[in-house]
Amino acid sequence: MHDRTTVDLLQGTLAALILKSLSWGPLHGYGIARWIEQITEDELLVEEGSLYPALHRLQARGLVTSEWTLSETNRRVRCYTLTEHGRQQLRAELSRWERFSEVVTRALQSRRPKTA
């Protein structure tokens, strides 16, 4: 097994990823986990112990809603949908992330300042 990074790097990162995963349409919990794993090519490992509390917290904050649907195998499945509020939050997270990564990148790539 190769090294993987668990998603607890930054608080809010997992929440942002969940919101992103739902931006194309409703998904169940496992679907969200799989999407993150696939999109990061298994670089990021989503722990269920973090995923579900995060999901339900987002639901409590009104960023996502859930409803029970039937799967193709006729099982009850809880599907999460992004709310309008969640969509706005995602946009805000994105721009914040961009600014953040830009700043951090610039900082990490900076050269040693010349001393007088």
Binding site: Y30, R34, E47, E48, G49, Y52, P53, H56, A60, R76
Partner: protein, 891 residues
């Protein structure tokens, strides 16, 4: 099971837990399937999925916590939204029916306002804080004689003080009046002489200066009340250290007590004449509070001269009951070793009882009366709500059919009643605030605590609490009743009476019956009090009180000089007053009946053995001519004469009660009696008519009269019988007094009728208030009966029309409606009369000349309410008789 688990189980909601389990199980299955698809064996796939997943129970409990908190918040938000919606809806609904709303709010305002007003008084008088640290450790010590409290003699008090171990500190108190001269008009001021430890015992702090302390009291010191300081000395900041003249002797002001130092007259039996002292001086010889008769007399040895009251502070840890038991046994023990203690007992009275005991019961009676009024108001509004609800029945049934739960509808209806009752409470607060002014104008002097009453946070809280309780009380019944309907019932009710409206009608019948019962109880109570008060006003006091003016005179200056001249002085004043035009007769007495001073004495009859329990009599000291001026008849023998002076043999007069008790059927004139602490025999020279010395409610008791010419006092009260309104003659009287001595203060100017009115002020206060609450109750009951019958006639219009179309006469319809009202009234009245004795029992000590179960009062009330019920139902009944069958049946 540990506490945490129990708590979790309590808030555990099955659907939340099950949902989470299902969600997580699905996740596991999907992961397992993925692993299988990647080529793992089913068993390996399963293990791998499990391993990957981690501990499901941790995840589950974390998620559940989140979900449950969210659910709680949602519920709370939902409730708040519902509540706001209900209030808005209620306000809209109430605005749509302004007539109903106005009547309901007014009814509730009367009920709640009366309760608030009375509670605001109770709040200050009975529950208010006392201005002393640890005030509830303060107690008052009284002698008891035949179970009645009375003041104590100094010798006995000193013995009690040394023998009782329950007290931390202790102070004697006497009441004396002082004449303040030297600055402005001479004035007689009620004061108090107290042991040096008085202020220490109370823990009272002065406004300015420093009061005297235990063991260190300059005998010429005086402490002023703030009231006197402001009134007489213009709140002079340099008052401390100044010398003022009291009873012709210089005294140095050492301190001023603040206004919040509330100190009433300390009396065994509260009387309307009592006013709190305005100044305090230290005791006389032996630190014994000075007697009213002679400030300088050494009283330490006197055991039987009962003029002392006493306040003590209980030691920490000693209960009131323990202390009282100790005082009682010490009192009995002392009486055994000292025959002159006349076998008296001793007891303690707590400070709240001492200060407010006399008003506690009247106040509680009033509280009961207003509670009854409120109950009727509630029944009325509930009945109104039911009548109004009938119109909304279909609306409510429809809402239920559309999915509103019954609880939701009940909540909405109850919210509506609470909105009503809170509006009523707000209006009631205004009424209470406004009504407290008229309450004050009726206030008897010894209920003076009322002047301090006001609306504070506690009163507001009480009113709010009442409003909510009342809203629930009158809202719940109609709400449950109205929410019971099913849609089918209500919709089927196409104008004819349904089971629902019949049920409503039964509930309203019950409410009206109850209302009548409560009105009966209140009316019986007020009838008793009013009849008792009327009886009191008709009591023959033995005095002709009409056109009789009274005022007090205190002789100032050097006592020794005056003592010899006092009688002469009083004589010449009487002569001058008799010369004033409009004056018919003049008399004078040290102790004036009804609101004046009162002395008592033990006495012995010559030639008879000393009885086991001492003979007691009232002791009055009067000038010759007093009986004539007062209109008291001399039944036998003669009046005092000016020639009965100190050199003449000592004589007394007795009243008829004493004569009857000692010499039944014989003439007492010529017999001799003496005071039990004084060796001289005194001959009875006459018998006078009985009077009620202590006021109309107290029956005549034995009285001994002595002449001022043989026993003089530095103060005296004059009575002037005038030909017309005594106040018209007052200026001439004042001039006559000043012409004799410009420094002579003339105080307490009142007519005897005013004294009597003052003595009756408390029964008047109580009966007036209870009667007005009774009147209020009856008016509310009229509104209730009328509203109910009017509604019922409207409801039954069709039935009435059909009956009439089928041949029933108008008279029949009239009697049908009236009969129904009378039937309900009969049940209510019987119920009320059955309950009333329980309520009127509380009046037993407050009634005069009538028992709490007076059959006349009960019967009269029953008849009166029956008549009221019939009258209230008359208009609806006439309307029923006027129904035009053709106009109604057509629908």
């Amino acid at each position: 099971m540990n506490e945490r688990a129990r708590r979790e189980r309590r808030i555990w909601r099955p659907e939340i837990g099950a949902d989470i389990d299902e969600e997580l199980a699905y996740h596991l299955e999907m992961r397992e399937r993925d692993y299988r698809e990647r080529g793992l064996s089913p068993a390996d796939a399963r293990d791998a999925a499990r391993r990957r997943f981690g501990d499901p129970s941790t995840i589950r409990s974390a998620v559940r916590t989140i979900d449950e908190r969210a659910a709680r918040e949602r519920r709370r938000a939902g409730m708040w939204t519902d509540f706001r919606q209900d209030i808005l809806y209620a306000c809209r609904g109430l605005r749509r029916t302004p007539g109903f709303t106005a009547i309901a709010v007014l009814t509730l305002a009367l009920g709640i306002g009366a309760n608030t007003a009375i509670f605001s008084v109770i709040n200050t008088v009975l529950l208010g804080s006392l201005p002393f640290p640890d005030a509830d450790r303060l107690v008052f010590i009284w002698n008891t004689s035949d179970g009645q409290p009375e003041p104590i003699g100094p010798g006995r008090l000193r013995d009690l003080q040394t023998q009782v171990t329950s007290f931390e500190s202790f102070a004697g108190i006497s009441h004396i009046s002082f004449t303040l001269t030297g600055r402005g008009e001479a004035e007689r001021i009620g004061g108090s002489s107290v042991s040096s430890g008085f202020f220490d015992t109370l823990g009272a702090r002065p406004l300015v200066g420093e009061p005297f302390h235990k063991g260190v009291a300059d005998p010429s010191a005086v402490v002023l009340s703030e009231r006197l300081w402001v009134r007489r000395f213009g709140a002079d900041p340099s008052i401390v250290g100044r010398t003022i003249t009291l009873n012709g002797r210089p005294r140095q002001v050492v301190a001023v007590m603040p206004r919040r130092f509330i100190w009433p007259a300390i009396t065994a039996q509260p009387s309307a004449a009592d006013t709190g002292p305005e100044l305090w001086v230290p005791g006389g010889p032996g630190d014994v509070p000075r007697p009213a008769t002679n400030e300088d007399e050494d009283m330490t040895g006197h055991r039987n001269t009962g003029y002392l009251r006493s306040v003590a502070r209980l030691k920490p840890g000693v209960t009131f009951a323990q202390a009282r038991a100790e005082v009682a046994s010490a009192g009995t023990r002392l009486s055994r070793s000292h025959p002159e203690d006349d076998g008296r007992g001793a007891t303690l009275v707590g400070i709240r009882n001492q200060f407010a005991g006399a008003v506690e019961r009247p106040l509680l009676v009033l509280a009961g009366a207003v509670a009854f009024v409120l109950a009727i108001a509630c029944a009325n509004v509930a009945s109104l709500l039911l009548g109004r609800g009938a119109a909304r029945r279909r609306d409510l049934a429809l809402r239920r059919a559309l999915g509103a739960s019954r609880a939701r509808i009940v909540r909405q209806l109850v919210t509506e009643s609470i909105v009503l009752s809170v509006a009523g409470a707000a209006a009631g607060l205004l009424l209470a605030w406004w009504g407290s002014a008229s309450l004050l104008s009726l206030t008897p002097p010894d209920m003076a605590g009322l002047t301090r009453s006001g609306i504070d946070a506690r009163v507001l809280l009480f009113t709010l609490g009442i409003a909510v309780a009342v809203g629930l009380a009158f809202g719940l019944v109609p709400a449950i009743e109205l929410s019971r309907d099913q849609l089918t019932d209500a919709l089927a009710e196409g104008g004819s009476r349904s089971s629902g409206s019949r049920r409503t009608s039964r509930t309203r019948d019950g409410l009206v019956t109850l209302e009548i019962a409560v009105a009966v109880v209140l009316l019986v109570g007020s009838t008793l009090l009013v009849r008792s008060f009327t009886a009191l006003t008709r009591v023959d006091t033995g005095i002709d009180t009409h056109n009789l003016l009274t005022f007090d005179i205190t002789v100032t200056g050097d006592r020794a000089e005056y003592q010899s001249r006092q009688v002469q002085f009083y004589d010449s004043l009487i002569q001058r007053l008799e010369a004033v035009p409009g004056v018919r007769a003049v008399g004078a007495a040290v102790t004036l009946p009804i609101g004046g001073d009162d002395f008592g004495t033990g006495y012995l009859v010559e030639g008879r053995p000393v009885p086991k329990t001492a003979l007691r009599a009232g002791y009055q000291i009067v000038m010759p001519g007093y009986f004539h001026a007062m209109g008291i008849p001399i039944r036998r023998g003669r009046d005092f004469r000016s020639s009965d002076d100190r050199k003449a043999p000592p004589i007394v007069l007795v009243n008829e009660t004493l004569a009857r008790a000692q010499w039944p059927g014989q003439d007492p004139v010529g017999r001799r009696v003496r005071f039990d602490d004084d060796g001289q025999w005194m001959t009875i020279v006459g018998v006078v008519g009985d009077i009620r010395h202590l006021g109309p409610s107290r029956p005549p008791r034995p009285e001994l009269y002595q002449s001022v010419t043989q026993r003089s006092f530095p103060f005296i009260a004059f009575v002037v019988r005038t030909e017309r309104d005594p106040y018209d003659v007052m200026p001439s009287i004042r001039r006559a007094v000043v012409s004799l001595d410009p420094d002579l203060p003339l105080s307490g100017v009142r007519t005897m009728d005013e004294h009597v009115a003052r003595a009756l002020s408390k029964p008047k206060f109580l009966s007036t208030l209870v009667a007005s609450f009774g009147g209020l109750a009856v008016s509310l009951a009229i509104v209730g009966i009328y509203g109910m019958m009017a509604w019922s006639v409207t409801e039954r219009r069709q039935e009435i029309a059909i009956r009439m179309a089928l041949g029933a006469s108008r008279e029949k319809m009239l009697t049908m409606v009236l009969g129904r009202a009378l039937f309900l009234a009969a049940i209510g009245i019987s119920l009320g009369l059955a309950i009333a004795p329980l309520a009127t029992r509380t009046l037993s000590g407050l009634l005069y000349g009538i028992t709490p179960t007076d059959p006349v009062a009960f019967a009269a009330t029953g008849v009166a309410l029956g008549a009221v019920a019939a009258l209230s139902a008359l208009v609806p009944a006439l309307r029923a008789a006027r129904v035009q069958p053709a106009a109604v049946v057509k629908y």
